[in-house]
Point group: C2
Chain length 167, copies 2
């Protein structure tokens, strides 16, 4: 308990968030540790909730999802139960990949992923704008994704060069 990852744990996480299929043997070789110790550290990082899951990243364009929209939503009423009600509905829409409750000019920011503009229009007409309690919807469309970083910056613990010992 009260587990805090050390420098080596940080290196392990950095390797795994770059390529989750790196074997323990490979990690052990790079960090100058035994295979078993790496295995135990990974298991601990998983158990302590530092590593949440392992996923395959798919090519969304090849799978027919070509349009990303960022949509801001402002609600009419903000009573105690109105926000969770909206959030629950949003959770049932597969087109909504991400939903952020925001401060400032609007209440929610949604990332919408669909095949094309036609599909977006359909989503907007039949699902989003049909919800109760909507005051305003604003959509902006992505022309290009110029940066998509999935790896957290673990710069506090990346002395990869120092570990040149062998087994």
């Amino acid at each position: 308990m009260n587990f805090i990852p050390d420098q080596i744990d940080m290196c392990i996480m950095d390797i795994l968030q770059e390529d989750a299929r790196t074997t323990n043997k490979e990690i052990a070789a790079r960090l100058g540790k035994s295979v078993t110790s790496i295995f135990e550290r990974v298991k601990r990082l998983e158990a302590e909730g530092y590593i949440l899951r392992y996923i395959a990243v798919l090519n969304k364009n090849k799978l027919g999802k070509n349009l990303v929209a960022w949509t801001s939503v402002t609600l009419k009423e903000h009573g105690q139960d109105r926000l969770p009600a909206f959030e629950q509905k949003i959770n049932t829409f597969p087109e909504v990949m991400e939903c952020y409750k925001m401060n400032g000019q609007f209440d929610y920011l949604l990332k919408i992923l669909v095949a094309d503009m036609e599909a977006y229009e359909l989503f907007n007409l039949t699902k989003l704008s049909k919800l109760d309690n909507i005051y305003k919807i604003r959509s902006l469309f992505v022309l290009a994704e110029t940066k998509q970083e999935v790896e957290l910056n673990l710069k506090t613990g990346l002395p990869v060069k120092l570990q040149q010992k062998n087994k």
Copy 2:
């Protein structure tokens, strides 16, 4: 060539984007296929660019990244070389996780991930607002992430257009 994934390939991708550590044996059992056929399909999906990579998803809060900001940027000049210049600079900032070129009211939408408000202020003062050619910067902060979907929805299958290219 001109490979189009079939129903079984879609199932495999769906399983792997949910848990990249699912073994081929497990996938084979679920789909009623042999281990080797799954192995070959996965290799092909990787080779054809449908599966891009495998990553570990880390817990950003446990790693000290507690503030997400969505920042819109409008440039002063939009000449041929000005946009790539901006994008290149943005790519060197580890705080910027995502950058979208947008239509509409502003030019770029940035997802910024930092430790806290103080770190955001520092990033804004020393990096973002120091860039050339900036006309306007607007920041909104995330109060809560109510939906974070990383898996593509494959249940709908491929769009008909894509399927017809098959053979």
